[in-house]
Symmetry: C2
Subunit: 342 residues, 2 copies
Amino acid sequence: MTIKKPANIRDIAALAGVSAGTVSRVMNDKPGVGSETRAHIARLITEYDFRGDSNARQLSLGRSDSLGVVFPLQVSEVVMHPVYPELLGSISDAALASGYDVSLFTTTAEERVEHIVDAFKRKRVDGLILPAASSDDALIQRVVDEGIPTVLVGHRQESARMTWVDCTHDQAIFDIATAMIGSGRTRLVLLNGPKRVSAYQLRSDGFWRAANDARLVDAQEIELGMSYSSGLQAAGDLFTLPRPPDAIVCSADSTAAGVLEEFKRAGIAIPMTAEVSGFDDTDFASHSTPQLTSVRMPLRETGAAAVSLLLNMIDDRTAHPAPRLLDAEVVWRASTSPVGGV
Amino acid sequence: MTIKKPANIRDIAALAGVSAGTVSRVMNDKPGVGSETRAHIARLITEYDFRGDSNARQLSLGRSDSLGVVFPLQVSEVVMHPVYPELLGSISDAALASGYDVSLFTTTAEERVEHIVDAFKRKRVDGLILPAASSDDALIQRVVDEGIPTVLVGHRQESARMTWVDCTHDQAIFDIATAMIGSGRTRLVLLNGPKRVSAYQLRSDGFWRAANDARLVDAQEIELGMSYSSGLQAAGDLFTLPRPPDAIVCSADSTAAGVLEEFKRAGIAIPMTAEVSGFDDTDFASHSTPQLTSVRMPLRETGAAAVSLLLNMIDDRTAHPAPRLLDAEVVWRASTSPVGGV
DNA sequence: GTGAAAGCGCTAACAC
DNA sequence: GTGTTAGCGCTTTCAC
C-alpha cells in the first residue's frame, strides 16, 4: 500500500502534529522552532519529498525569484555570436547559485519590448539582464521609465535602477593597433561591426585613439557584418586598392578568418606583408596558420558580475551599485609582430 | 495630479463598479459579461495599464505557463555548438507565440538534475524541452520517473509523458557517404563526436550503412571533439598513414574547417585527392575554398515542433503525441564531387 | 449578466 | 516555541 502523497504544507503540518506556520519556518530555515520539532519536520519533508509550491510562495512574498535575460539569439551577422552561449551559461550558473531561475527573452524587436516589460509588471521576473544593447534600444528607454531593476552588459548607461558591466574593448583594440604601429605599420584598417552596437563603437574608439596618437593619415574603418564571408570579401576589396593596408584589425575572429583565407588565396604573407588581428579568442584563433592575435573577454566574470549587481538592486530598492569594468585580455600570437616592434 | 495606480483586480473592479470576478472574465476573454460592461472594463484596463499578477493567476490555476529548456551551454568541444542559439531562439519564439515563457537550465550535470526536477515539482515549469540528450542521461530517467511532460530534441526515446523531435542525421550522412563512394572513393573516414550523444550515433549509423551497402573494407570512424583544432590534428594524423583516406566525412563544419586547413598546408587537393564534407551548414561552408558540402538541419522547425508537442502534452494529461522526424538537407558544394560520380 | 464567496498554498504578524 | 489569523491577487463555482 502506497503512502498518499501530502499535497501541501498543511498536510505536512498535520502529519507532524504542528501548524503550517511552523513547517514554513523549517522550510525557510527561519528561527523560532525547537530543535526536536525542527528535526522531526525536516525528516517528514525529506520522507515525503515535499517541496512546496513556488507560485504560492511568490504570491505571498510578492516576488518571483526569477531573472529575465534578454538575448537576441537569432543567428545574425550583426551580433557577437560566439560570446552568447558562454555568457548566458555563466549568468545562469550565477543565478542558480543564488536561488534564482533564469527566464529567457530572445529579442528586443519592437513588438517584443512590451512582452518583456509585461513580464516584469506581472511579477514573472524581478529584474533584467540586458546584453549587447545599443544606445537606441527601445527597451532601454522602457526599462528606465518603468523603473525595472536592470543590468546592461556591453553597453554603458546608468540611471536610477540601471547599471552596467562591460569589459575594455577599447583598450584591447588600442593596444593591438598601437603595437601594429609600433612595428612599423602605417596603413591600418579596422573591420568593425555596426557602431550603433556599443561594443563596436568602443572598438572604433580604441582604434582611432591609437591612430590619432600616432598621427596616422592612412587609417580607415569599414563597417560590415561580423562574418567569415564579409571578412573574405573585405580583404579582397582592400587589396585591389593602389595602396593596400599593411595591418587589419578585426572585431571578430570569424571576420579575421575570412581575411586570413583571402590573404592565403592572394599570396599575401602574414604578418610580413600585413598583420591581422581578431576578437573573441575562439578555437580558430589558436589553431589557424598563422595563429591569430585576438582578444579574450572575461565572459564568465561578466555574467557573474551582472547577476551580483542585479540581485543587489532587487534586494535593496534604493541601491545603485557602481558599474563594473572588467579587463579584456589581448592574446598575442603570430599574426601580428611581437609587441613593441619587429 | 497623477492618478493613483490601481494595484489589483479589485481596484479595477471598484473603478468599474463591478466585482473582481467580472474583471477576471474580461481579462481572460471569458463569456458571461454584457458587451457594454465588457467594453467599459476593457477601457479601464488599458487606461490604467493593468496586467494582473501572474503569480496569483498561476497559484489559482495550478500551472506556471512556463516551459523549461535544458541546454548545456557551456562552451564545449563535445557539443554541437552552432545549432544551439538558433534552436533556443526558435523554441523561445514558439513558446511566446503560445503565451508561454521559457525558463533556462544550462546543464544536465548530476548535481543539477534535482534542480530541474524541483522546478517542475514546485510548479515553476509545466514541462521540459531537453535537447541533445544522450541515452545515459540521468535527467531522462528522472523525468520519466516523475512523469514530467517532456520533449526530447535530437534523441529518440519515448515513454508515457515523453516524446521527441529529431531530424534525419543518419540519412544525410548516408547520402553524402554514398555519393562519395559513387564517385569512386573507397577509403572513407568519419570524424565524429562521441557516440553516447544520439546525434553522433545516428551519423555513425548512416555512415556505416553506406559503407556496408557498398561493401567497403577501408572505412573507419574516429571519435573526437567537434572543434577546428581536432579536425586539423586528425587530418594531419590520417595523412601520415601509408594509405591515407580519399574522403572525409565530418560531423561538424568546424572540424571540416580544420581538415580543409590541414589539407591546404599539406598540398592535398580537394576534391581531387580527397573529398570532404561538413555538418551544420555554417557561414564558413558556403565561403570556404573549396566551398564545403554540408548538412542543414531544420532548426527552426525543430524548435517549433518541440513546443507544439509539449503544449499538447501539458494541455491534455493523457495525450501522447507521435514523435516528429524532420528532414535534414544535404547542401552539395565543391568539396565533394557532383552527386552520382565524376 | 453579475456578484458573493470560497479557495489556490504559502508567509508573517501577533498572540499565548 | 508554536498556533492562529489574515492576507497575497486571482479564478471559479454557485446564487440571484
